[in-house]
């Protein structure tokens, strides 16, 4: 396994070779799927699991001319540039490229080894993780991601923006990370909740780099220098946060302004893009938990529960940032999981993205307790979900409760994985404190 100070060069080149092999295989697989099943895109884009009403293919193309589409204007402009006769081919190539770029961002995140050791924390299991070429493979060959790629929803753009933002943050480029997050927020709004963890991540990486440079100058021990630096640097975290939040805001404002110019000087797109995300007027079924609830809710309590649901989604940020202060990357990963479960219009693309980020924490997989049960629940939901949807919508022999029950099972499985991964990471952290407890069972009293 890779030692602490970076893998040896032979293993490194091997890794790179494998990475490119993975890329090529994934691209070929996608090209084959696009070519062999030209109807698959049309089939998948209509599935509620793949393209929800706010990011589906139809929302992008069919209603492109009206102002009521929930898509960001810049994306619409991008798609209107694609010549119609080659639309299928060009979008296929575009989405393959997007997937490969996302995978590359994951590789960069994996190669930084931030999952195993951060500025403030070094996992006792460092080195037990997977080689960095397996991470993009887990992403590119994730069936959820492949289905999403074929179905071509616009959420892929958001995923890519988030991944690139994280990659820049771990690569000690916090400014570009914030701009990337601004793009993601501009596209889908909910990534704005990631500002906190991303600031922490960027700050930690910056301090770490500073310490490393300082340490290499003094030839001292890295960890000691980092600790020494910690105190004098910690005063500037608020300044860092303010500066980077400003960058984020400026980037977002700039994009909004461009859209304002593009739509002919009208702010109407704000309410049609973010209003749909925020107020959830479209209750078309999806794999999330919101639609059924708001169908059943009394009208007079609708606003209140909109507030409750959004606060529930946003309320985790603070607690997670405090509790996992030593591992800000894992806060981002956990937030991705929370988004995939609790955001208004989730798709399996969001789930796929989160499940593809989890392999970064391969070293704590051994500490997870309910893997079998959670995976079974997910498989169960994957098999029965489309069947129950068919029974309800097409055959008419079921009702909405059938599908909703399955989305509940799906969410239950995801919540289990989420909680279990969180437990595993915390247990891993705890073993730093109590090294003698490694490999032993624990019990809450």
């Amino acid at each position: 396994m890779a030692p602490d100070r970076g893998p040896p060069s032979s293993s490194h080149s091997n890794n790179t070779k494998n990475t490119y092999l993975v890329y090529a295989a994934a691209a070929l697989l996608r090209l084959f799927l696009f070519g062999a099943f030209p109807g698959a895109g049309a089939l998948l884009e209509g599935r509620v699991e793949v393209g929800s009403c706010v990011c589906g293919f139809k929302a992008r193309t069919g209603k492109a001319k009206t102002t009521s589409t929930p898509q960001a204007p810049l994306l619409l402009a991008l798609f209107s540039l694609i010549p119609t006769p080659h639309f299928h081919l060009i979008t296929a190539l575009l989405y393959i490229t997007l997937d490969l770029l996302a995978a590359h961002a994951l590789v960069r995140i994996a190669e930084s080894h931030q999952a195993e050791r951060t500025r403030l924390f070094k996992s006792p299991r460092t080195g037990e993780g997977w080689d960095s070429w397996i991470i993009p493979a887990a992403y590119l060959f994730n069936p959820f991601i492949i289905a999403t790629c074929i179905g071509r929803p616009t959420s892929v753009f958001t995923s890519l923006a988030i991944l690139w933002s994280v990659a820049h943050a771990v690569g000690d480029k916090p400014m570009s990370a914030m701009v990337g997050l601004g793009v993601a927020t501009y596209l889908s709004m909910y990534p704005a909740l990631l500002v906190g963890p991303m600031v922490l991540l960027g700050y930690d990486r910056q301090e770490e780099e500073k310490a490393r440079i300082g340490a290499s100058g003094k030839r001292g021990d890295e960890a000691e220098a980092a600790e020494g630096n910690e105190k004098e640097a910690s005063s500037s975290i608020w300044l860092f946060a303010a500066k980077h939040t400003a960058v984020f805001t400026a980037g977002l404002a700039w994009l909004l302004y461009i859209s304002y110019i593009l739509t002919g000087g009208s702010w109407e797109f704000i309410s049609s893009t973010y209003g749909v995300q925020l107020l959830v007027p479209d209750l078309t079924p999806n794999v999330g938990l919101w639609w059924y609830f708001f169908i059943e809710m009394f009208d007079s309590f609708r606003e209140f529960f909109l507030g409750v649901f959004w606060l529930h989604l946003g309320g985790y940020v603070g607690g997670l940032c405090i509790r996992l202060r030593k591992q800000p990357l894992f806060v981002v990963v956990t937030m991705m999981g929370i988004f995939a479960i609790f955001k208004p219009y989730p798709t399996i693309g969001d789930t796929g993205l989160w499940l593809s980020m989890l392999p970064l924490y391969r070293h704590v997989f051994g500490l997870m307790r309910y893997t079998f049960f959670a995976v079974s629940a997910l498989l169960y939901a994957c098999l029965l979900g489309p069947a129950f949807y068919h029974l309800w919508v097409y055959a008419g022999s079921g009702n909405a409760n059938f599908f909703y029950a399955i989305t509940l099972v799906w969410s239950l499985g995801l919540v289990l994985i989420l909680a279990d991964s969180l437990f595993a990471v915390l247990r891993d952290e705890w073993e730093v404190e109590r090294p003698e407890m490694r490999g032993k069972e624990i019990r809450q009293i």
Binding site: F298, D299, E303, L311, G319, R323, L418, A419, E441, R443
Partner: protein, 599 residues
Amino acid sequence: MDDGPDSMEQDDRSGIVKGEEASGTASRQPKRPPPETPENVWLRQRVVTSFWIVVILLGVPVWLWTTSIPRSGLPLEDMQAWADGRACKPAFPLRISIQAPDLQKAEAEHLTRLTQHALDDQNEFSAHHLRLKLRGGAHSSIHLNGSVSNEVSATDNNLDLFVDPTRTEDDALTVRLETDSTLTSTEAELQDHSRLLRILHPGHLVPSITSSTSSLSGYIAAKLQELFYEEQGMIEYILTSSHTLSGQSTHQSSSASRDSRPRSSRLIHPELAAKLASRMTRSVQYAPTYHLTFSLFTPAATPSNWEIESAIVENLSPLLDALSVVSNFTVDTQVQLHAKFAPSVHPPEFDETAGVWTLRDEDLSGFVNAAEWPLSPSIGEGSTLNFILYVPESQHTPLVVKSNHASNWLVPQWGGVSILNLADDDGTSRGKILSKAMIQPPLLIFSHQLLSLLGAPQTPQSLPLQLQTLTRTRAASLLLSASSTMGSLARLTVALPSIAIPETVSTAVESTLDHLRSTCSALKAGHFQQALNHARIAEAQAERGFFEKSMVGQVYFPDEHKVAVYLPLLGPIGVPLLMNALKEVRKAFAARRAKRRVG
């Protein structure tokens, strides 16, 4: 599932570890866990606090803001005043112009004055009164009773103008005095299509300037009184029984309509009152739009078509155009062959003496086979009036009603039926198509039926006058109905303090009251068409305000239901939050006490 991070955090922080009892060799006594580090305690406190900060700083304001009941202020006092009739005493001053081209100006003025006196003496119902106005030469426009006319007097010379119903819409009637020395007594003549009452009199009856009575003025007064007798009765009926009228609308609480039963009217003749009551129940409720459906039903296969479109254009459209000042109309037609009677209806019986087939009177109510004949109950907004032309089979022709041998009748609040008995040329040639000429008589009957369904008076014969009466009565009933809706809304608002009054309701109420005021003043000024227009808007706005959707949603929402709404979702979130907060607070107290004891 909401307490993921919380409970996880519990798992390892306060989590105490039970050492794996390694193969039973170790002592049975459980190991004591090492005490928590202060750093961990502090961390946990901060996590709990961060969740509570979200709850208190964001959750509570959201809760207060989204569940507050918006109650925009309503002018309750005003609304109740309108409902009680305190805000407006509707008045119906009818202006009648008098033309006397043959008379001297002074004579004419005197005659007018005398007639007005005679009218005032006879009138018992103050809300509805006739005002005479002399229109003579270019400079002699006299307004009695101080009523102000804004007409341009220069046009008054043109007599034809007064025949044109569109020009002098504020004048209810024009009386033209014409001297005809060949006559021995006074005669009056009112044409069916005009608002011009011609009074032909032998010249010697004109009162001299000094005389205080005159048979001519008495005659004119009596004639006018006769013309407007029925309308006066109708308006009085409407005004006195306003609460019954509004009681018909469903939203009026039953108790409110019960305690204000119509007072028995002293002024209307009981016979007329009974007639009016039956007519009012027959006529349909006012709607801004009526859908007229003309249907041809026949039990046989012929006639299979009718020239209804051109017949309607010729026979009905003029009436509908004239009626368009009161309501809008849409027209549909349909043909239904092989339309059988309902099984409960007795088949026609042959009357030997008259040589006709007869329908029993008691079967008329079941004549329309509602179950099988495709008569849609309503098309969109507004009420539907059905007019059925029934062509009996040739072996049952002619078909009439048994008691009076009539071939048409009116179905109250629903429409009319007319039986068309085709002249049967020995059964040889029953035409497939009903020609325009053949359906003209039934269409004329339908137009009469339409007028009575709309509540037009029977007298006078003149259609323009009937329309005017309709305008005034509709304005009066809409005014009262909108007012009573306002009253109901005001009572509802007071009675149910928990229902929301959104902004739209208060603007609708505002607008209703505005238009009610305009209606009232337009009525008083004698601008009846304007009054009707305002009253229509007022009624529509009042209904809109009363039936506001977001308002009725919470009418029946007791507090117990709120528990059911809040608990299923907020319970699972709230319990861990609350328990952890309590635990932290207790630990903090315990730690402080321990410290003090040590110190």
